[in-house]
């Protein structure tokens, strides 16, 4: 089971800034463990962010993104109390969705 994300969203002068911290190993597939065996790739492939029900960001992730990735972005609109939802899916088909209210 994937661990929760830490999401913060704040609206200011018609623009909402969203900051997301994800908990994920982001294994590239290029590394070996201490016995020399390849560590299988395990990384987020897609991320979708929604403002209420509208998609505001759709991102392709890959193995070059760090462990426990941090993502910050802004979208036009959004007001206090609105819902921001962030979902990711990884190459093993695992996924995680968390939501937060705009502050």
């Amino acid at each position: 089971m994937a661990n929760p994300m830490r999401i913060r969203a704040a609206a200011k002068e018609g623009v909402t800034e969203v900051r997301v911290l994800m908990s994920h190993v982001m294994e590239t597939g290029q590394r070996k463990d201490s016995s020399g065996a390849a560590i299988p790739a395990h990384f987020i492939t897609e991320l979708v962010a929604k403002h209420n029900d509208k998609v505001v960001l759709n991102a392709q992730f890959g193995p070059s993104v760090s462990t426990n990735p941090y993502l910050a972005f802004k979208f036009n609109g959004g007001a206090k109390g609105d819902k921001v939802t962030v979902s990711w899916t990884d190459n093993k088909g695992e996924s995680r969705t968390d939501e937060v209210q705009v502050a």
């Binding site: 661990n3 929760p4 830490r6 900051r19 911290l21 908990s23 760090s66 462990t67 426990n68 941090y70 910050a72």
Partner: protein, 266 residues
């Protein structure tokens, strides 16, 4: 072994002769740290720890809400800034890790031996680290305020000071060999001068920390263990008196300065 010794000798040379042109200011670690601080992944560990605090676990199926970190049962805000401290119920000076271990044992029935004999980042010791993240997160921006009045605190402080200057191990290093001068660094890490109040606070108050280079969250116990290793001396037992003494010395010396924990390091 031989290679290790050579590597240590090179490290030692770097402490003594870090070229002036590469002083820590010019490498601008602070700007780097500020960039990282906004999304410090230590927060993920804080979240995990917060949940662990209120989760019924262990053979006694209990939460940690009756745990007293010095300010009363279940009072977490500000507690870390005043540790290590003397606890009357155990008649001991305890740092945050050893106090949490005590609470887990007494309230939840999770044997301390399992943590002491365990490994960093694994099992119950990893749980202690997450709890540490949560507790120090509740002292963010607070000044370090360790009460040294109790005789056992004085004793611990004195033992920590003595250990700090005590030369030992294959290289005959003391903590002070690497941590008693201003503006020094090893590799790209600046070394605080722990013999000053400001430097002690910098060292004490920026751990536990998330390490970006290996994506790991390290407590002060972990930091100290690694410094003993860098000193090429015997590894300290987790939560042992010598580690608590060094922490009492650093925290006591850093009294009054603001802590930035949980930190973020390269």
């Amino acid at each position: 072994m031989r290679q290790k010794i050579i590597a240590a000798a090179i490290a030692a040379a770097a402490v003594v002769a870090a070229p002036q042109a590469l002083a820590s200011e010019e490498l601008n670690f602070d700007a780097y740290r500020q960039m990282l601080a906004d999304g410090n992944p230590a927060e993920l560990f804080e979240m995990e720890g917060e949940e662990l605090w209120t989760t019924a676990r262990g053979p006694k199926n209990a939460t940690l809400e009756k745990c007293d970190l010095g300010l009363g049962a279940n009072v977490v805000v500000g507690a870390a800034a005043q540790m290590p401290r003397y606890f009357a119920d155990t008649d001991k000076v305890q740092d945050l890790e050893s106090r949490l271990m005590h609470c887990m044992d007494a309230l939840q029935g999770i044997p301390s031996a399992e943590i002491i004999n365990g490994s960093f980042l694994k099992g119950e010791r990893a749980k202690v680290a997450a709890l540490v993240a949560y507790v120090v997160g509740q002292s963010k921006g607070k000044p370090i305020q360790v009460d040294l009045a109790h005789p056992k605190m004085k004793e611990m402080y004195a033992m920590g000071e003595k250990t700090f200057y005590y030369r030992t191990g294959a290289m005959d290093f003391a903590c002070s060999s690497c941590h008693s001068q201003d503006g020094k660094r090893i590799r790209a890490t600046s070394l605080p001068n722990i013999t000053t109040s400001k430097g002690a606070a910098e060292g004490w108050g920026s751990w536990p920390a998330y390490r970006v280079s290996n994506s790991q969250f390290w407590t002060m116990q972990h930091r100290l263990w690694d410094c003993f290793r860098q000193q090429r001396t015997a590894e300290p037992v987790f939560g042992s008196d010598v580690t608590i003494a060094l922490s009492t010395f650093m925290a006591g010396k850093g009294n009054g300065h603001e802590a930035v924990w949980p930190g973020v390091k390269r």
